[in-house]
Symmetry: C2
Subunit: 224 residues, 2 copies
């Protein structure tokens, strides 16, 4: 040990230029928030994990909330962009579904901390209002997918379109919920091959989507 805590690098420079330090802090904070959640993460945790004093952290970010907000904004921006391009590149509905699912699996794999942060705070109105945004964005991406497909189908009358639009909106939460749930489940079961989980989700959701145009109905069960 040569004097200071060199960490991995032996003669590592501890002082860093402003911008680089800022990036490092954002990265570390993302991990901490993702692991412990907003409330249980203290600014000291973040500072300690970055091998830095809390004061320095406050020279980069005015408050805990601001730090968290900046992180979530980045995540939402990134994920939104990916979803946008995925949906735009898709030609059919099944293709679009598959593309969106792939985006989610990719992101969860590539950025596990960011993913953890998102799912942890998605249903907390208290903090991270940007995450509501993400949920809405996911929903509208679905809606776009559904509506775009139907608009291309000239067989539908305006009235039928209206009816189906309502039904499409009802389908959104179902698809949304099952996708996120599947990704989370898969992360907790690494032994399951990703392809299998992905394919299952695609089929499951695509069938639900397909119902929309076929008008196929389930016989109403008598119920108890």
């Amino acid at each position: 040990m040569t004097g200071g805590t060199g960490e991995a690098a032996p003669g590592a420079r501890r002082r860093m230029p402003h911008a680089r330090r800022r990036e490092q802090l954002l990265q570390v904070a993302l991990e901490e928030f993702g692991r412990r959640g907003y409330h249980l993460t203290q600014m000291e945790h973040v500072a300690a994990a970055a091998r830095v004093s809390k004061a320095l952290l406050y020279q980069h970010f005015a408050s805990k909330e601001e730090l968290f907000a900046e992180i979530t904004e980045t995540i939402v921006g990134e994920l939104t962009a990916r979803l946008n391009t995925a949906v735009l590149a898709a030609h059919g509905s099944a293709d679009g579904i598959r593309a969106m699912i792939r985006v989610l699996f990719d992101y969860a794999t590539e950025e596990p901390d960011a993913w953890a942060l998102v799912v942890r705070h998605l249903d907390k109105p208290e903090v991270g209002l940007e995450l509501r945004e993400l949920r809405d964005r996911l929903g509208t991406a679905f809606a776009d997918l559904l509506l775009h497909r139907r608009r291309a189908d000239p067989a539908l009358s305006a009235a039928a379109l209206e009816v189906n639009e309502r039904r499409a909106r009802l389908l959104v939460p179902l698809m949304y919920g099952s996708m996120l749930s599947m990704v989370s489940w898969w992360l907790e079961h690494p032994d399951t091959p990703r392809e299998r989980a992905e394919q299952m989700a695609v089929e499951f959701i695509w069938l639900g989507l397909d119902r929309l145009r076929s008008g196929e109905r389930l016989p109403k069960a008598p119920a108890g």
Copy 2:
């Protein structure tokens, strides 16, 4: 209901027997935790909402955590019991799906605060470990449903059974996620008739379940 909980009554009796006060405190705490979430709810909030001092609250519950735990235990017990009977009473898979969805919609309608508390804390390992229990219970209820149905089907070989069991496990998170998501969505869109939301969920999920036995497969899309 004359007298009972003082609340609005001006010269109302404030002293209550131990057991009744305890129940009131549990009820009030449930609302507070449901609205603000665990971390943002202070014991003083609960006490104030019950028109009582914080010290009295501590004569009934040893700690904030214990209070929260007792509440969640009750909720999980109640919901679990309802799901159990619903699944047991079901004769077929579609019937079982419908029954479970009804249980969830019923519960969310009858006990909105309890429901809010559940969805708020479901994916937070930090607090309320009992809620993991609920998620597992939901999952196993699904699994029971699927496996019971298949066991009754003598056409399946042991090997096929094994394969399908794996696929069944993959279906669980999809159904689980879509159900919860749909209920939450419906609560935020009260203009949508409940029956429509319910029926849509049943159809969507039942189709996914039905895939399991029919072995129907979606042509693998080429992907970008």
